[in-house]
Assembly symmetry: C2
Homo-oligomer: 591 residues x 2
Amino acid sequence: MSIKGWRGRLLVVDLSQRLFKTVELSSRLLKAYIGGRGLGVKIVYDHTPRRVDAYHPDVPLIFAVGPLTATPFYSTARFCVISKSPLTGTLFDSSCGGELGLELKKAGFDALMVKGSSKSLVSLVIDDEDFLIKDAEGLRGYTTKATREALRKDYGEEFKVACIGPAGENMVRMASINSDEGHVAGRGGLGAVMGAKGLKALVVRGSKPLEVADEKGIRELNRLVLKRIKSNPITGKALPGLGTLFLLQVVNEHGMLPSRNFKNTSFDEAYKISAELFKAKLFKRRKGCFNCPIACKRVVNLKGEEHPQPEFETTWALGALCEVASPEALVELNSLCNDLGIDTISMGSTLACAMELSEEGLLDTRVTWGDVEAMKELIADTAHRRGLGRTLAEGSKKMAERLSRPELSMSVKGLELPAYDPRGAYGQALAYATSNRGGCHLRAYMISTELLGVPILLDRLNPIGKAELVAYYENFLAAIDSLIVCKFLSLELDDNIFASALRMATGGLFTRAELIKAGERIWNLERLFNLEEGFTSSHDTLPERILSSPGAPPLQAMLEKYYEVRGWNRAGKPIEAKLEELGLPGERITM
Amino acid sequence: MSIKGWRGRLLVVDLSQRLFKTVELSSRLLKAYIGGRGLGVKIVYDHTPRRVDAYHPDVPLIFAVGPLTATPFYSTARFCVISKSPLTGTLFDSSCGGELGLELKKAGFDALMVKGSSKSLVSLVIDDEDFLIKDAEGLRGYTTKATREALRKDYGEEFKVACIGPAGENMVRMASINSDEGHVAGRGGLGAVMGAKGLKALVVRGSKPLEVADEKGIRELNRLVLKRIKSNPITGKALPGLGTLFLLQVVNEHGMLPSRNFKNTSFDEAYKISAELFKAKLFKRRKGCFNCPIACKRVVNLKGEEHPQPEFETTWALGALCEVASPEALVELNSLCNDLGIDTISMGSTLACAMELSEEGLLDTRVTWGDVEAMKELIADTAHRRGLGRTLAEGSKKMAERLSRPELSMSVKGLELPAYDPRGAYGQALAYATSNRGGCHLRAYMISTELLGVPILLDRLNPIGKAELVAYYENFLAAIDSLIVCKFLSLELDDNIFASALRMATGGLFTRAELIKAGERIWNLERLFNLEEGFTSSHDTLPERILSSPGAPPLQAMLEKYYEVRGWNRAGKPIEAKLEELGLPGERITM
């Protein structure tokens, strides 16, 4: 397959009618949206009926790769899942490592659009240009691990799998889509969308050689990239040496690691679940995505079995937030969530919310801080929607609202907040509030500048200049998610490098300014979708517990500045001139 | 005792003649040199014959406290020891925590000057205005711990002790002076000067109430200080939570933790001796100096016995640098050095140098990387000057020179470098080269700005602006050592706070500019002493291994800039106008 001239192909699958169709994508469309997240966002914006449930059969579920996927450029073995979230009701994208993206690209596709729904559980098999919808009722109730193993046994190791577990089948609003072991599109409950479509698994193999416009150029660029990645303390030492978990102690030491459902901003026992302890007690071997010089993953050994090491966010959510301080317990809780197909952040935060509700006497079931065995049971109950699990399966926002204590859900737009306490970093606080997909640290990872000193350390507790930076990072990272490159590269590399890589991959002219502009276009289109769904500026906020704390971030003032920087009016809507500048909403993709 | 009007008193003890004398110090002198290190430097400059051995009886040994010692201002329970170093031949000051400083101040003295030497081993007892020279031959060979215990048994718990162990008695050039458990004036071999004077121990009790000019003001200032100290991630979380050892992983992740005698710039097994592992495996309780809100010390439990937790520098020098990766072994090695009275940094670096010399076949004795049992024997042999220990006792510089491999001593001006690899921080590299006492990180702790982001993160590998900053920090920290305040406070507090505290303590007018100017005066007087001792700009350098590495700091260019910033000529000598501006060398203190 040649991608010279930067053209792309979309595979459309209608599960209701069991029909397949391929659609050619114009280079004009790709230049405007790049690929990956941007392409998925455009398809979802164009082809989703408004104000329907995320489980409606007409809501499309997109799996997308980008122009850099499967090129020799480092750290591009990723794919992106885009749809409407059953947890937040917003447009939602979730990124995943592992090798399925490579296969999809080598099968000749830039994206797969799944629409309709199947009455019985099915698998979708893509083997280059052969497409099959196969019965998967025999896999019902299988864990993600068992599903992966069964499918690999049926189809062979060359096929890569993305699948759901019981939680996705039961449309748990925080259900994940799991690919290779430890590689998860976790957030936003897109696994439940897959479940609503009756799609248990996606099974892909691609065998077409990939041509890039300037392969030698990319390999030379890689040499520079490698040198910079190795020289940066985060990407060169901390991540390869300890995994994402290195962050736990750093964040705790800055008083930014929430514990006890955000009642506290640090966790006294954090050192017990630090990366150093995991390494000393459980480490087995390092693991990385294909062609990645960072290789931040690790495999641990627990009772003679291999498990993925819990990521930083997981260790925080199921650990510090619920007051669990045992590495062994966290490995088990993490693998349980993975097997059942549940997002660990939302699960941990929803459990912490339940613990606080229980402490206040508002639950029939008693749930105690740090009770690991009870947590295991509740996670299984959530996946199967049993007992209290039926309530947990709705996420912390709906649960807390149902019990008339909405302020105990530590979420934004229904998405449970991640590990960085917004009281400790005002830029990150603004990023949480403005995130199009809800409480997320990866739309604008302000921690890089507010904590890690990359590219320069700014005062965490000073709002000045933060609105501009948040908007810049939201645009930049939307582009990164569209290329697709792992965000960790962006801790060291700037937009110029990525624009160069894109030119070399596609042969097209593409400047760094166009890259950022594409990111801005994607961001604004996501915003338009959300506005059309009924979201308003009142949803750009933070939990009451944060806003009423001493030293709370001055959110209102930062928001006003942010809207101004964005070219939005005071109601948070893009003004006409901004839409015109970005060519939005633009021509509808025809299929 | 009132220190209103900022007057001071010096106690002079002549051990040869067994005479005591008190000398009144003028407020003019104190305003120019503050106290502590500054006062000691001035006394040593004025009263040391030039170009004699540090063991010469006429070389004075000063124990000094400062105008803030024993006031209610936080973190001032320190004293400073100043003399000529037998290891470097430079003027040398070494700072120590613990409570002896408080007692000396409450006995009514700002400094103690010990001159002459006793033929038999003695203790010097100061009980307010009662001074005694007591026979201490019965303590010969006692460890510092046993000495402290014996003296406390004789005199009571109220008396605080500073003493030497076998290493000091045997004039090992890296012998330390040890005060309370884990509180050590470690560097530069001042314990050997004490040994040369036949002074086994100093025993002090003071009972006079201390009056400060504005006690209420200091207590109000403390409230602000406490708030700032608590809000700073280093002083508020990392140091109280993990001790200085928190730095180990941070520094390693930046590729700045030398291992194998600086052959490598990181240590793969660093996580095994990380603060988190010490805490999980050995932690018993926290410990701090008197009236310190940081309390960075910790006590660990090993085989049922209490030991001080090794500091970061110790863990690095006896650990990473010698490739030892066991917390238990490091606790034992540290306590062994403490008991024998040996500086852990110089000992670790000298052992690492011996390991490399052995690897090259240049030693008769085989010394292997990471051989803990051999290290224990060699440390004991060093303290007692036995076998290979006779050579080690001279320090790495003399040892490597003797074996014709001077480049294997990782030292500057004969002082073994500390844990921050100068190849990874150009400002710190310049600070090592220009330090008046040789390879030291505490003359200008550039790591705060080059690694910790305090007060702002600067590019570690960019020389621009570093000369100015190094000179500023050298001046600032000379003032801090003279006040005396713990340097950790200066990670959060600026010169204005300290000038305020000084005004409140003394009632005198004193601006922040005068504080920095006093620091500059002290620095230049130290430099004059060294120049008069034969040091030249050629000694402002770094080990060949550093300078010949790829990515070596551009030392020559930075040095030229530094001399210019300092108002020194190209030979590194202060120009006349600079000396005049600072009033140097100034009137001799008469006694």
